[in-house]
Symmetry: C2
Subunit: 444 residues, 2 copies
C-alpha cells in the first residue's frame, strides 16, 4: 500500500482527463502495482449523456457529476490532481500543467491522453456567444438560464414580433444531443410552463431543429430516423433536414435549404452540430509528431498508442481509431469506456512482459430519447422505438451513472418529473449576475 | 377569474421581493378579488436557512430553491415578474424597474416592499472579495468552490507554511449561519474528505470561528450558547469569542482580542458577521420620507406600514419593527412569514372596510444546528440540545421547504449524507472559469 507522501519506485501512469475514457482507465488499474495520476481541470467526472437534462431544468448538476476524488478515494494506487494540462515534454516524459498560480510537471512512464472534444463552429467562432454548445456543467446552466429567460422576456415584451422572437428556439444539429434538447424544449413549452405565465402562452413557442443531412439521427438506420422525426413532430418540433444554419446573429439565424436562405428571428440558438478535438491533441502532435485528422483528433494505432511512441496512448473522443473493417469509431461513451479498460489491461500485460491483441470495439447498440416516454434503440440485431425503448434508455443511463447515490436520486427525480410533468431545477443562476442578459447581448 | 392579458379594474397589490415575507404575503392573498404582482430579480424563492448546506456540498441549489412561477402557477390572481426594481414613484403610485434591456413601471394601489438584506462589511467593502458572505445561490456555489479548491491547492503545495494557510478556514461571526458553516466545515475536513487526498491530511485543517461578543449564538440563552460551543469544540472548531477580525487580506486575517492583534495566515474567510438593508430601503425613504435605522432598515408602524403612507408596507428583514414591549424583531424567517401573512390579511380587511389590531409576533422558538446530529433549540418555555434537538431542527426545516418534491428529495439526500458521511455535491463550478483562482486572488 502506498502511503501519502511516499516516493514510489513503481511504474508511473499519468492519465490526462477524467471523462469516461480516463476514469475507466484509472479504475481498471485498481490494485496494480503502479502509481496512477489522474489529472483533470475539473474536480468531477461528468455524465455527459444526461447533460441535456440539466440544461432543461430536469436534473441538478450534482445529480450527474461525481467528485473524482470521491470515486477514486479507496483506490490507493491512484492520486487525483486538479490542474490544467498545458503541454507535453515527450523526451523528458513529462506532462506540463499549471494549477492557476503555479506551473507543475508530472513524470510518466506511460501516458494516457483522454482530453476529449469541444464544440466546432466550423470557422465561425463568433457564433459561440449567441449559440452555446453543451459540453460542460457551466454550458448547461447557461443554456438553462437562456431558455428560461426567453420566456421571462417574452412575458414582459409588448411587441408581438419580438414576443415571437423570444419564443422561437433553434437547435442546430439533429444528432442525439440536438434531438434530446429539442424534445425537452417542446415538453417545457407545452407542459411544464403551461400555467406559469399570464400574458404569453408558452405552448405557442416554436422549436426548430435544423439538420444538414437528409434525416435526424443520421448515424442510425433510416427507419429509426423516421420514427424519431415523427415523435419530434408529435411533440411540436419543426424538423428541417437538408438545411444549414449559415449565419447566427443576436436576434436571429439564417437557415439555408438548397438555394433558399430564410432569416428567422429568434433569441435562443443551441449548438449541437459538431465537435473538434481538445487543443491537447495538437499539443501532443507537436510534441511527438503524431498525425491529426481533420477534426484535430489524434490518429492512433490498433492498440491505441501513437506510432513510434508505444508508451503514449490516446483514448476517448480525442482518439481517431478505426475498427477492424477500417471504419472510424464514433465519439460515444461506450467506445471511451472500452478504450479506457483496454489500455489499462495492456499496461498490466506489459508489466508481465505480455502483449494483447488490438483493441476491438463491441458495439452495445445506440439509443436516443425524444422527449417523454419515447426513444429509439438500435442493437444491430434488433431495433425498436417508443415507450419500451425509452424505459430501456432510462435504465441503461441510470445504471451507468458513477455513484449509487446518483442512481437513486436521478431515478427518484425522474419518476417525480414523469408523473408531475415538473422540472423543478428551473433556476436562472449565474455568478456574474448577467445570466439573463449577458453584456454582449443587451439590446437597449 | 382573471384571464391572461385582461385589464383588471381590481385593486392592485405590488409586492417587491419573493423571499419569505413577499411570497407568504402573495400566497395569503390567494382567492382575493385583487390583482397581485410579485416582482423579484430572481425567478425562484430561496430557502435561505439551508443555504449553508449548498455552500458545503451537502445539497444542490435546486433542492432549496423553488421557481416562483411554479409555486404561484395556480394562483390566478397573481402574476410574477422577473425584473430589477430600481426605485419608487410614490406620488404616481408606481414601482420603477428594469428587466435588463428595458425600463418598466408597475402601478399599485397597495405596495409591499420585502427586499431583504445583504452583507455588511462595516465600512470595509474591499473585504468582500476575500471574505464572501452567504445570501444567494451564487454566493453558495462560490463558497463551495473556494472551500474545495483550498484542499486542492494544499494538495499541490510543497511549502508547509502555505499548506497550513490553505488548510486554515476562518468563519467571521457566530450567529446561526456562522455556527452552521463552521460545523459543516469541520465535518468535511474530518470525515467527508478523509480518504480523498494522498499528500495532505484534510483532518489537519484548522477551523476558526471568530465572534465579537462574549459567546456563540449571542441571541440565545447562555446555557445553550455554552452547549453549542462545546459541540463545536468537539467537532474540532476553535472558537474565539470577544474577538474581532480587524483586517482581511488575500493570504490572511488579523484577529483582535482586547489589546492583542494576531495575524493568521489563511486562504478561506467566510463572512457571517452582519447585514445591512437592501438599497431599496433607502430608495423608499427618499421617495416617501420614511425613517431608516442604522442598518438601513425602514422603521415601520405597528401595522407594518410607513408613517403617513398607510398603503405602503415594509416587511421581512428590510423592516425595522418592534414587538409590544418595544424590542426590535429579529431578522429571521418566522418573522418574515408572519408579517407577510399579516399584511395580506390587513389588505383583505381594508377591502371590507374593516381594520386589524397591530402586528404581533408569535415566536415559535429558535434553533441552530452544529454539524452532525447536534443542535440547540430554544422554545422559551423549554430549551434543549443534542440529537433530539437536531432531529427537530431537521423536521422543522424540511417541513418549511416550499415544494413537496423538495421536501422529499432533501430528506432522502440528508439521510444518505447522514449514513455515508457523504457530500456528493462537491463540485467546483463557475461560469467564468475562474472558480479556483478569481483574477483578483492569483498570487503568481
Amino acid at each position: 500500500m502506498s502511503q501519502p507522501g511516499a516516493i514510489s519506485p513503481r511504474p508511473r501512469v499519468v492519465i490526462v482527463g477524467g471523462g469516461f475514457a480516463g476514469l475507466y482507465c484509472a479504475r481498471s488499474l485498481a490494485g496494480a502495482d503502479i502509481s496512477v495520476t489522474l489529472i483533470d481541470r475539473r474536480n468531477y467526472h461528468l455524465f455527459q449523456p444526461l447533460l441535456y437534462q440539466v440544461a432543461t431544468g430536469g436534473l441538478s448538476p450534482a445529480n450527474i457529476a461525481a467528485p473524482l476524488r470521491g470515486v477514486l478515494a479507496r483506490q490507493r494506487n491512484c492520486r487525483v490532481v486538479m490542474a490544467d494540462v498545458t503541454g507535453f515534454d515527450v523526451p523528458g516524459r513529462r506532462v506540463l500543467a499549471h494549477d492557476g498560480g503555479r506551473d507543475c510537471a508530472f513524470t510518466y512512464d506511460t501516458l494516457v491522453v483522454a482530453a476529449g472534444v469541444r464544440h466546432n463552429y466550423f470557422g465561425n467562432p463568433a457564433w459561440e456567444s449567441w449559440a452555446p454548445g453543451l459540453k460542460t456543467i457551466e454550458d448547461a446552466t447557461r443554456i438553462r438560464a437562456k431558455i428560461l429567460s426567453a420566456f421571462e422576456d417574452a412575458e414582459l415584451e409588448t411587441s408581438p414580433e419580438r414576443i415571437r422572437e423570444w419564443l422561437t428556439f433553434v437547435v442546430v444539429g439533429a444528432g442525439p444531443t440536438g434531438v434530446e434538447l429539442a424534445g425537452a424544449l417542446a415538453e417545457i413549452a407545452r407542459r411544464t410552463l403551461r400555467r406559469d405565465f399570464r400574458r404569453i402562452d408558452p405552448a405557442s413557442a416554436r422549436i426548430l431543429l435544423v439538420e444538414g443531412s437528409e434525416r435526424v439521427l443520421p448515424m442510425y438506420p433510416p427507419d429509426l430516423s423516421r420514427k424519431a422525426q415523427r415523435s419530434l413532430e408529435r411533440l411540436g418540433v419543426t424538423v428541417l433536414t437538408r438545411s444549414l444554419v449559415s449565419d447566427v446573429r443576436p436576434d436571429g439565424v439564417t437557415i439555408r435549404s438548397g438555394d433558399m436562405a430564410t432569416a428567422v428571428g429568434c433569441r435562443v440558438v443551441l449548438w449541437a452540430a459538431g465537435v473538434q478535438a481538445s487543443p491537447l491533441g495538437a499539443a501532443l502532435a507537436t510534441a511527438c509528431g503524431a498525425e491529426l485528422d481533420r477534426a484535430g483528433r489524434v490518429v492512433v494505432r490498433p492498440d491505441l498508442s501513437i506510432p513510434d511512441h508505444p508508451q503514449i496512448f490516446v483514448i476517448g473522443d480525442l482518439a481517431h481509431a478505426r475498427d477492424a473493417s477500417g471504419r472510424p469509431l464514433p465519439g460515444v461513451a461506450p467506445v471511451a469506456m472500452q478504450q479506457g479498460a483496454y489500455v489499462a489491461k495492456l499496461i498490466r500485460a506489459r508489466l508481465d512482459g505480455a502483449a494483447l491483441p488490438a483493441f476491438s470495439y463491441v458495439d452495445p447498440g445506440s439509443m436516443a430519447t425524444i422527449g417523454r416516454a419515447a426513444a429509439v434503440v438500435d442493437f444491430g440485431w434488433v431495433r425498436f422505438s417508443g415507450y419500451w425503448a425509452w424505459l430501456l434508455w432510462l435504465f441503461v443511463h441510470i445504471l451507468n451513472l458513477i455513484q449509487f447515490e446518483n442512481r437513486l436520486l436521478v431515478m427518484l427525480q425522474w419518476a417525480w418529473n414523469y408523473f408531475t410533468w415538473g422540472r423543478s431545477a428551473r433556476l436562472i443562476t449565474e455568478t456574474d449576475g448577467t445570466a439573463r442578459h449577458p453584456p454582449s447581448s443587451v439590446d437597449g
